[in-house]
Symmetry: C2
Subunit: 213 residues, 2 copies
Amino acid sequence: MNVIDAMNRRRTTEYFEPDGLLLSRDEIEKLIADACLSPSEFNLQPWRFIVVRDLARKEILYECTDHQEKIRNAVAVLILCGDSMAFQSVDDMARSRVEAECLREEEVAEFCRLVTARYEKSKWERALLAVRNPAFAGMSLMLLALERGIASAPIFSFSEEAIRRSFHIQPRFLPVMLIALGLPSTHGAQPSRGPRVDTKSVVFHEDMAAMEF
Amino acid sequence: MNVIDAMNRRRTTEYFEPDGLLLSRDEIEKLIADACLSPSEFNLQPWRFIVVRDLARKEILYECTDHQEKIRNAVAVLILCGDSMAFQSVDDMARSRVEAECLREEEVAEFCRLVTARYEKSKWERALLAVRNPAFAGMSLMLLALERGIASAPIFSFSEEAIRRSFHIQPRFLPVMLIALGLPSTHGAQPSRGPRVDTKSVVFHEDMAAMEF
């Protein structure tokens, strides 16, 4: 399926068919592995995925998300987390980049120094690190899922605190979004795609000064 | 091009061919419009794109990004911004969702109340709003660009303050990332793709408790 077709066909699925799809552990891990081909800043890959498939665990997650029925009916729900401290392993990362010939040995020390300084000194940079990169992987994952016949729904309404407690998420990791995966239910109409605003209202050429408020 | 092929073939392009590609204003706007088919929380579409193509403006942007040569050689550089106050137009958004039959008239008031309360009371939720959604659009845009023969490079190292000042970005908007677009240079080798960590180290089943530190 072409990328543009995947973009056009992707919908946020509201109703999943309970028990409608079998997704093996391997299939889910492959989906995640492919989504991890997304870029990340300094290739730090600051993303983690908690795969929730067990009925009882889905019930706990359902409680963390204002009782969204799609959590119960999805075959699996992924909790995407960002690692705000991923920069601490920049040495290992630099090492593997040298091995892959995308960084020169003599650049390692300066690279590590720059990356460490950037995140150590700024809590905001650590937040960006933990949010924007998992969002890349999440977007890619939804498109890849569609191509494999798996419907998805990104979920943003959840209690961070409840999810942290229930799924034992350490402070350094930040729950960024959930993605429910499954087969769309044929009972009851799925809502239409949300309308998009005119592109002209979100694009500015050369400068944002011309915009009106 | 299949989604998985796009994922496999996408690279962060380090060297662009100066004047290597003509991209019309229409082509860029179409690319952005298609990327905006990405999902967003409550369909708020809190993303803005500043398209920088003018030579003098690219030079200014080059100054804002630690002198990254790819800014100069890219045919266009997009500044992706997030709108932390997008929830303020939730009424209009709800209205258009009713017209598109993805929200019922009787749900509008409660929907608007919930969305407004969520972001009004939390600066952190506004930050998430402004970061994760533009990241979705950015990821989609890079895959769509590849499918159209356009190479890309996401850029995260820039001075937020300098970009704000130079491109007149209001406080409510947050510069999330830059995306350079162009044709890869054939002079000098592009760096290889950064190696990916083993999927096993980023996936957890049912719970994160088992992880070791």
